[in-house]
Structures are given as structure tokens and as C-alpha cells.
Symmetry: C3
Subunit: 375 residues, 3 copies
Amino acid sequence: MTTVSLPESLIGTPPGSDYTDPAGFAREQERIFERTWFAVARATDLPTPGKFVTRQVGRESVLVVRGRDGALRAFLNVCRHRGAQLCRQPEGELRRSIQCMYHAWTYGFDGKLIAAPNLASFEGVRKEDYGLREVHLREWIGYAWVNLADAPPSFEQDVLGSATTRLGEENAIGDWKIDSLTVGHRIEYDVRANWKLLIENFMECYHCATIHPELTEVLPEFTEGWAAQSYVGHGASFGDDVQGFTVDGSEGLGTIPGLAPERDRKYYAITVRPNVFINMMPDHVVVHRMYPLAADRTLVECDWLFAPETLAEAPDLTRTIELFDRVNRQDFDACEATQPGMASRSYRDGGVLVPNEHHLADFHEWVTERLNRPL
Amino acid sequence: MTTVSLPESLIGTPPGSDYTDPAGFAREQERIFERTWFAVARATDLPTPGKFVTRQVGRESVLVVRGRDGALRAFLNVCRHRGAQLCRQPEGELRRSIQCMYHAWTYGFDGKLIAAPNLASFEGVRKEDYGLREVHLREWIGYAWVNLADAPPSFEQDVLGSATTRLGEENAIGDWKIDSLTVGHRIEYDVRANWKLLIENFMECYHCATIHPELTEVLPEFTEGWAAQSYVGHGASFGDDVQGFTVDGSEGLGTIPGLAPERDRKYYAITVRPNVFINMMPDHVVVHRMYPLAADRTLVECDWLFAPETLAEAPDLTRTIELFDRVNRQDFDACEATQPGMASRSYRDGGVLVPNEHHLADFHEWVTERLNRPL
Amino acid sequence: MTTVSLPESLIGTPPGSDYTDPAGFAREQERIFERTWFAVARATDLPTPGKFVTRQVGRESVLVVRGRDGALRAFLNVCRHRGAQLCRQPEGELRRSIQCMYHAWTYGFDGKLIAAPNLASFEGVRKEDYGLREVHLREWIGYAWVNLADAPPSFEQDVLGSATTRLGEENAIGDWKIDSLTVGHRIEYDVRANWKLLIENFMECYHCATIHPELTEVLPEFTEGWAAQSYVGHGASFGDDVQGFTVDGSEGLGTIPGLAPERDRKYYAITVRPNVFINMMPDHVVVHRMYPLAADRTLVECDWLFAPETLAEAPDLTRTIELFDRVNRQDFDACEATQPGMASRSYRDGGVLVPNEHHLADFHEWVTERLNRPL
């Protein structure tokens, strides 16, 4: 089973072990997820001072909290004294401070150590040396993006740049005013597959005709197998008889106010490497955020975002949500069917990318480059 | 606790770590289960073209399917394109082809690539290079035996030879016409013990008096502790007052048509190394097939086979099935009691084989030889 | 995040990996739990010959059984023949002997091999070579203490010495006549935290004010954060308005007969390294015994012991038991909150011990010394 040379129309994939090896996954956690920007929280989920969320980023629990000054900040969710986890719930509201449940070391929402029992008597201890470990945070399109690296890579280049490269012009994503949209619905999916299978699945449309009957009905060009997102600036057009981006092609919701007419009746998708997807439709936006938990398990948090004006009318969102929920389930089922094959000797040297999938090789190169970059 | 020299009547066993170490188990998967013949499917479970079963052999999912030409074939259950598992159920029926659920690559029941979306446009791709990876398959006594090695060992020597050596003459097993028998009952047992404990248990009868009251009632010589299968050609005789091989010694079913009179009122057992047991009684045959899943877990599929003439009369099989089902549960319970002891320092250098068990040393040597054979 | 030099009032803790690494845990099992004395069973749980308990000590199942001569003995719970576990229940009563369920090898309650099927015919086999592997056992304060080492460390120095050092005089613990007390209640706690977090928690009281409202109500000095057990001979006094060591400070039970007046209305605690806690109150004694099962999991068996005279009156034990049960749950919850933080990069170089906790450094040194002691 040695690799024979492939014809020009095929490109080899990584070997199956890249999708199953726990040591490789640990390396990805360290070198990818703990060094790239990740949209850890929707800012509107934290409307007031003291509101917090905790989420797993790489191998760390990260605490995001809104301060008294209105700013969001992120910290490693660990007390500096004896290491207890500070906030143990996925979300909640803190009264006056971040207080450790174990010995009552107490931090401000800005991470500074405020108090600890007997602290005044501890000779030579300076409060400023024992604040929480802060994590870099940027806000964009209404999300708090965090980065665990000491010296994070450029947010402009890596995150904003992904949107610019995809849409073809700077700030084009601003058309959808995503930062002003409201979360109308959220679903968590627990997927028994390697995170890279989910990314690859999202990036190609060669599978669309096979597993997405509802989606290809709305976006007929998807039946040809080409991924819209691999053409700069291209949006996939709705079918002529389709009224909206809904599970049955029936009428959708009101167009996002101010959206340019050429964006109407079109679907755009952006992958922000390594693990955020942004899907833009005329009347809503769907954002996928992926939390890799193990070599064979990935948690996906999926937000459906709508204009506040739209939600104010209390419309029936069912058919709108159902389309992408079905697409998600179809995709994740395919990923779960693929995971066991990764361990087979048949996939020891990998599989093949057909022309509709050639752009996945860029993603594979990006991963390889990240894993081998000097620390 | 260093080994002292043993008296001549005792032989040492392998050390306990041979039964607990995950790395050793991985080596057994590679060097034993992926290189020896295994009875993966009962041919009559696949009566018509398109009927399939999938089973775990070593670390591989193997797909066995009946072709339009009536032949059984086995393949690695993995798509050649991106590695999805082709058949995800343990058994079922395929309509026209083996089609991958992900991108619809489509294979014939003979494993050949028939079609794939846009395939005609992929320059230089030859269908014949992308068929399924076939696995060697032989039929014998009504089972499809597969072998994952590129160059399998001799089926005649390893499998047929086991029966000949045990029964003392070539084709003697043919007396029971096992290939023509029908599966009247099947039970799966999930045993929390290393596969070698199950083999050793099956191969010796020193435990019979202790844990098998019903069996020793039917086969009184078993109380002496000698395993019938270690005497060439020997069958263990039913007790004088025993009418049949049933849980209470009451009358069994009709003798398998044509069975020689000297085979009647006798029990024969064959071990086909490494993991198939064949038990032959006058009126039925019981076949155990073992799937090692982890160092401390083995799945056993046990078939009760009967002559079609016998089943045609719709007899009550309860007392017949209950005898071996009880024996199985008694044996597997003993194996599960033994597994934890394998990790004790008390068993660091192994235990001892008494004279009734000396033939187990052949099995231990066979395992060692297989594990150390050059690849 | 390299360690900066600490002010004199702080001492560093071990790095977080000491609490999460499975290899480090295996080393602790081998070098600590399989070489130190452990209170594996309450002698009164085994009142008559043939009564037994089995417990996990280090990585071994240990069988403790009372002999016909009235003595307690401990053995590795493994048959010398093929390694089956001899007693599979946590406790029970054996009739005449210890008989292996697999091949009926039979041992006396003194561990000697008595019989085995066909044994007389095994040439050269001497029964005395195949007795059970005995484990060192000592009785003290009503518990059977076992030690798995071939040459155990001094019981007097390690176990009795802990009590002497803590209480300030030899045999002072004798005041409570713990060996004559009866188990009035027992609770098992399954704690998802490293065993060292439990020890550290028990040894310091800096957390008392934060998590133990009921306990600090009874023992007001605990609010100051100093652990009574770090002052030689010191007992923590009940608050002036406290009537007894109960969850609401209401009256307790009758004082243990003969207890010196200066022991009354006081709480004493002793840690017998590595994993036994003894808590002495005027009217009862609470003993914690910890079974480390994995780097992140510890089973705690907690006994409430009372004078037989007290139990004879069938008093309501509820409020007495509830106090330490609440304290246990509060402590174990804190340990479980701390376990995840051990894996964070924020704790890569450990945390800090404040003056109230400085004595924990002795424990950390003890662990390090044990792990590095030549075998």
C-alpha cells in the first residue's frame, strides 16, 4: 500500500494518523488553538458588569467577564494562590468581584488582586504580583476573540484578513453589521470526529449534492460541487423559484437593514482559521465556533444571529433555523462516518482530493506550517 | 519474588503483563489477528447479492458482501476517496452497489469503482486504481474466513490442519456436514478479560469439576480434569444415564443425518488458533468466534447450528441451548475473575500449569512465535 | 511565566503536573502507597474466623481475613495457580477455607495451601511453596494496618510516631481508647481530585473561614486560619456557647469514659502520612482512610466511632454525624474545584503557600523524599 504517484487531477490528503493520534492532537492544542484567535463569547451574552462566561480554549479554561468600565477582559480561570478554578459554571453573574471559593482570594473584574484573608500580614507580598493571568482579547463582529499566546499574531492579518481575502474588499463584511445582530438561537453539537474533518467538510461542496438536499434546493449551484467560498467575492445565488434561505425555500425574514441589493438573495461563507465559520444570508448570519476536545471529539457552538428589528416582530424562526440545523446534522454525521476510517490501514497514506476539493490542500499546508513553526 | 525453579510437574505461564499491557495487545492485533484466518461471517447470513455484514478483525472494520455472481468477497470498509466508512451497520442489504454516504463514490459488490460525481472530468484518473482494498476470503464449514495479510499463511495448513490434527484424520470434520447446518440461535457475550484467558480456559478441563456442574453431569470424564481435545481423535462420551447434550441430560434433538454411529453420544472440540472454537455434538454444533477489543475486553459471538431437517420440525431448543450458554457464562465469569489478578505483583512472573494443563504451553509458544516472527 | 523569587512570607507549591500526570501517579503508587502503612480494615468488621474484607492498597487487591486462632492476616488476593482473584466482594464470610472459584485451589485462613484437585499426583510439588503471598499486618487503635513492602519501615516510628509528635507525648492517643470504640456510621466519598489535594486540604485551616461555617461556629479559633494540628499538643477549644461537636452546636453524646477533663470540649486531629486522618472529639472519633485510584480520583472511607456504652443507649447520631459529613463535602468540593486548575499553564510552576499553610511544605518534602528514595 505504498503511495503510487497520483494523476494531476488528484492531490493527496494527510495520513489518517493525523486525525487519530493523541500526541498529534496535544501538539495541535499547543501550537494551533493556544496561539490563534478564537471567538470565545458573544459580547451581548455579557451585557453588564460581572456577567461572565467560561469556555475551553486549547487546554485552558478561559474566563471572560465584563468590567465596571464596560470593557470585556479574559483571564485564565485559575486562582493564583492554590490553583482552584474561579468560575465553575459556563456562564453566570458575579456580584462584586471574582472570589475564589476555596480561600476567598478576591479579584476585581479587571483581574487585580483586591483582598485575601490575612493578606495584610503577609510580609513582602505585593498585590500587583498576584493578579489573574490575563489573556489577549479583541472584539469584532460582536464577538470577544481571545488569544492565549504571550505575543499574539496580528488580529488584523489573521482574522480581519480572512474576511477581506474571502469577500475581496476590506470591510465588506461590515455590510451585514454583524456586531449589531442579536442571538436568536443557539445549538451545541457534540461531534465524535476530529476537528479537521469538520473544517474540511465546511470548506468543500463536493458532498453537497449527496447529503444536503434542502441546501442544494435553495442554492442550485452547490450541486456542481464547487465551494462558493473558494471564489473571491462570490456569493452563491438562490434558485429562481426560491423565496428565502429556509428549509423549504419559503419566504425568509426581513433583509438586514441597509444590506446592499447585490448581497440580497445570496449566501456567503467565510472560514476564519482554524475553527470559526461565518455564514451570511440576506436576513440572518450563522456563526459556528468549534472547540476541539480530543483527537476524535469536537464541540460546536452554533449561533443564529438576526437584526434586532427583525426579532422585535417576534417572527417564526423555525424554517430559517431548521435549514442550517439540518445542514449541520448532515455534515456532522458525515464527519462521524469518516472518523473510524482514519484508523484503517486503507487510509494509512491518506486519501485523495478531487479538483472540487483542491483548495483543501491550502488548509493542510496551513496546519503543517503552524505545527512546525518554531516556538 | 524471583522465579524459583519449578518441579517437573509444573510449567510456568507467561507473566501477568502479557494480559494487561496495551502495547502488547496492539502488537497482538498487528501480528496475530491481522495475519491469521478468522471466521468472520456465517455464509447463510448473506443469502443473496447485496447482503452484507461488517465485523471488527484486528483493528480493521471488514465488509463482507455477496456479489451478483453469488461469491462472497471481503473488503476494508473504507472509501478510497476521503476515508468514510462505507457500511455503518453490523449487517444489512445493499440495493445496487456500495455507495459512500459522503460524496457518493460508488463501488460494485466486487469492489470495483463504478462511479463518482464529476469522475469523467478528473484527468488521468483510472477507475481501476480506486477500487476497494480487497481482503483474502475462503469458505469452509459454512463460514467466510478472512485474512488481512498481503500474503496469507496456508489456509489448508492453519485451519483445515487444526481439524485434522485434532480429529486424527483428514476431512473427519466433514462427518458433521457443518456447512449445511443452519444457525438456530446466536448469543453475543461481552467479556471483560484478555482473549488469551478465554483460549486457555477453553483448552483445559482442570476447571470443569469446579465450575461446570451441568457439563460434567453429561460428560463424566470431564471431572478428571483432562481436556478431551488434547487426545487425538478422542471424543468425550456421554454418561450412561445421559440421554442427550442438554442442560439436564434429557433427550436431545435428532442426530445430524448421516453421522457415523461412533460419533454419536460424544462431544468433540477443536480450537482453530487463535480465536475460533468448534464444538461438535451428535445433534448440533456450537461455534465460538472471539473478537479481541482491548487488552481486557473480548467480544464472543456464539452460534448454535442445527440440521435444517431438525429445525424444520420446530423443536424446543431451550434445554439444548441452555447447556452451552451456562458453560459459556461459567467460563467467562472465571476469566473475568482472573483478569484483575494479572495486574498483581503476585502474578508478575506468572503462575503455574499443572499436568492437566501442560498442553497450554503449546499455545503460549505459538503466541510467542507469532509475536516475534519477522514481518 | 517563569517563577519570580517569592517574598519570605510565601513558599512555592509543587508544579501542577504533580497532580495530573499518570506516570507520576504510578510512581506514587509504587513508592508511597505500596511501601507505607495503611489502615485497611476496622478489626471489629471482622469479628469471627472466616470474616474477610478486600481493599485496594496501591495497585493491589489485599485480602484481610480473621484466622481460626483469632489473628488477622493479610494476603495478596490472588491464587497462586492461574491468578484468579480469590475474594471478589468487598466483604463477606468464608466457611472453612479460602477456595479459588476457578480450579478450587484451597487455602487456610493462614494462607497455607491445603488442597487442590489432583494435587497428590503432581510430582515434586510441595504445598508449602504455594501458599498465598502474605502482607505485613499490625493492629493499632482497632484497625488492621498493612504494608506491602518486603521490608516495611518501622511501624512505631511512622505510625505511632505521628500520633506522638502531634499530641506531644507518647501514648497520649490512648486517652480516647480508640481500639475499643465501635463503628456507628460509615460513608464512602468518591472524590474527583488528586489524593495530595485532600491531604493538603486536611492539613491547613486557612480555608476554614471560607467553606466551613458550621465547623468554625463550633471551633471559633479556626476562623483565624491556623491549623490546630500544626501546634504540638494543642486541641482546638469549642466556643463558649457551644454545647457539643454537632452540626448546630447542640449537645453531643456522652464523653468517652475515662477521657481526661483537659481533653473535653476540644478537637484534636492527626495526619498519619500518607493517607489516614484521625479526628478526636470528646464523644466520638472520626477516621478518614483514602484510597488513591487515579491521578484525579480518590476514594475516601470515613468512619464515625463511638463508645459502646454510648451506642447502647441508641442515641440519635444525626447531628453528630452531620457536622463532619458537611465538612467532608465542603472540603471535597474544594478539592474538586482545584483539580482542573492543576492542568492550567497558570499553575505550571505551582502556586503559593501563605504563612497559615507553611507547614504543608513539610508534606511536600516528605512526598519528594519518598519518591526519590532508592528502592
